[in-house]
Amino acid sequence: MAEKIFINAINEALVEEMRRDESVFIMGEDIKRSVYGATMGLLDEFGEKRVLDTPLSENAFFGAAVGAAAVGMRPVVETLTSFMWVAMDQLVSQAAKMRYMFGGQVNLPVVYRATMYYGGGSAAHHSDRSYPMFMNMPGLKIVAPSSPADMKGLMKTAIRDDDVVIMFEDGTLFGSRGEVPDNEDLPNGELLIPFGQANTLREGTDATIVAIAGSVPHAVAAADELAAEGVSVEVIDPRTLVPLDKASILASVEKTGRLVIADPAHKVCSAASEIASIVAEEGFWSLQAPIVKVASEQVHIPYSPALEKLVYPTKEKILAAVRSTLA
């Protein structure tokens, strides 16, 4: 086991998969020189044919990835969440719908790597955390890792998956560190994490926190603080939102009877809303208190640091929410 930085874990996954499978290639803006950091060294190792800098036309290259995948390639596309709006046509009408619409005739092994920058003064146009919108649209697998190991293992799974996967990469975690198993210590010599399996970061009996992406560290911090007070909190990271491991969530709520959901996306029609609605339907009889959502305020991301810090879930908000369910 070695401690690794989140963004380097992305890079490792890309390198390993590109070495393993010639049909994997990557395209995006300024990736040759790795302006955003995850594609370091790829051009040198894999050359111009497999590492492509695109014109600034996301709709065209997001769609070109679909077309290339339809005829046998495995494209990885680098982008920011905020640039997905201009490419929504291809994401929805083609990437998400094509397989079903054509009766399963074609597999589309495309990975869209969508970085979510927020929390650092990027303002309304560059701070989108849009996975709930894509969860509403059938046909997309949606991944939101919260640690370097998950990032690496889920990215490798995503690249091998024969379906369209959107990796929501949380920019607030890019500099974070965590243990990543070394390949030589792993059963098959590589780190692959299956989709649809939540990760339980803390076990507990008094309350459950389901936390997503960048909210996970805050949830863990809250749980640890509560543990010191003698309150035993379970923390679950679903890791993939589509498919969602609802069995783990329901089992935890069955044990604790209390649920708080921490989600950095906007709170209306959020992943938190969805998880709450599942538990309110399928886990209702376990519940001993209201389900509390701790998600972003329903405003755009203001630039001013004085305001931006008020928007997202924090340890304090999560603490207050857990306490309210125990009151």
């Binding site: 290639f25 044919k49 497999r50 492509l52 695109t54 014109p55 036309s57 709709n59 065209a60 290259f61 997001f62 769609g63 070109a64 990835a65 679909v66 077309g67 290339a68 995948a69 339809a70 005829v71 046998g72 390639m73 494209p75 046509d89 291809q90 009408s93 083609q94 094509m98 397989r99 079903y100 619409m101 054509f102 009766g103 399963g104 005739q105 074609v106 597999n107 589309l108 092994p109 059938p138 046909g139 697998k141 998956d161 024969d162 379906d163 989709f195 649809g196 589509v242 498919p243 969602l244 609802k246 599942i278």
Partner: protein, 329 residues
């Protein structure tokens, strides 16, 4: 370009196939045999047939909402196309796609797309794959005069040009988008004039002449296979029927005259091609008529086949979403 009789007759056969297919479709739609939208290709047959007969099975096409002509021109099976229109399990998409979403990946048909301009990036991606793989298949995409104004077309043409991708952009200029003349929405005289904005050849072709289309697309394909990049080919053509079956409100007198329709009908693509075959002594009119009758039977059989195919079972609803399925939420 010297063309052998087989090729010329294949062109005629496929044009007749589309014509009979569409006539049948209009007939059964009017009788309520299926619903939704369906956009007849009658009058425009030479565009798809001229283009697709210039391609190989290993080449790819993608198309749009006016969607029956392209796959039939590319060698798609009328049986499975018709079954798809009727929403049956033997349809190309097992009934999930319907009229606007025919696809047959086995003969290079990447699929028809109902959103305007939306299949253009996809076709561009197939061409990108050819380049990365170092294989010499090409890709082509059909879109309308109206759709040419979509951003997706601009972005894809630019991308294809800077990367020198083997793709042919084929604009089917049938003069109108629903009720709107392209002269009111396209800022240049001809859509093909825009090719210069992407540093690629732009060719204006008589879209009623299947041989002219075939030749223009052949030149573009040769260029594409030689690694010289994309071309834009505009076929000037005309839609005889109204925009879509099921769109009852469109009254053609309001936006185009009967005279105009009559003028274009004089330049019917099948008429033009048969005349050429007869005049050049390649085939007799009887041969042409026999071919047409033969194809008409093929379409009848297709309809029979489609009608006999069952509707999908309820379980099918949840199938085909993913290659690696996930539980329903």
């Amino acid at each position: 370009m010297a063309m052998d009789k087989d090729l010329l007759m294949l062109m005629l056969r496929r044009m007749w196939l589309i014509r009979h297919f569409e006539t049948t479709v209009i007939d059964i739609y009017s009788k309520g045999e299926f619903g939704g939208a369906a956009h007849p290709y009658i009058g425009e047959e030479a565009v798809a047939v001229g283009a697709c007969t210039a391609m190989k099975d290993t080449d790819y096409i993608a198309g749009n909402h006016r969607s029956h002509g392209h796959p039939l021109a590319k060698g798609g099976d009328p049986k499975r196309a018709m079954a798809e229109l009727l929403g049956r399990v033997d349809g190309y998409c097992k009934g999930k796609g319907g009229s606007m979403h025919l696809a047959d990946f086995s003969v290079g048909i990447l699929g028809e797309s109902g959103i305007l301009g939306s299949s253009v990036p996809v076709a561009t991606g197939a061409a990108l794959a050819a380049k990365i793989k170092g294989e010499n298949f090409i890709s082509a995409v059909f879109f309308g005069d109206g759709a040419s104004n979509q951003g997706a077309c601009h972005e894809s043409m630019n991308l294809a040009s800077v990367w020198k991708l083997p793709i042919i952009f084929i604009c089917e200029n049938n003069q109108y988008a629903v009720t709107t003349s392209y002269r009111d929405t396209v800022s240049v005289e001809h859509v093909s004039d825009r090719a210069s904005a992407y540093n690629m050849p732009g060719v204006l072709v008589d879209g009623q002449d299947v041989v002219a289309m075939h030749e223009a697309v052949s030149v573009a394909i040769e260029r594409a296979r030689a690694g010289e990049g994309p071309s834009l080919v505009e076929g000037l053509t005309y839609r005889y029927e109204e925009h879509s079956l099921g769109l009852g409100r469109v009254r053609r007198g309001e936006y185009r005259s009967e005279d105009e329709i009559a003028e274009w009908r004089k330049r019917d693509p099948i008429l033009i091609h048969e005349k050429r075959l007869v005049e050049q002594g390649i085939a007799s009119q009887d041969e042409c008529d026999a071919l047409s009758a033969d194809v008409a039977r093929e379409v009848e059989e297709a309809l029979e086949f489609a009608r006999n195919s069952p509707f999908p079972e309820p379980e099918a609803l949840f199938e085909d979403m993913f290659a690696n399925p996930i539980p329903q939420p």
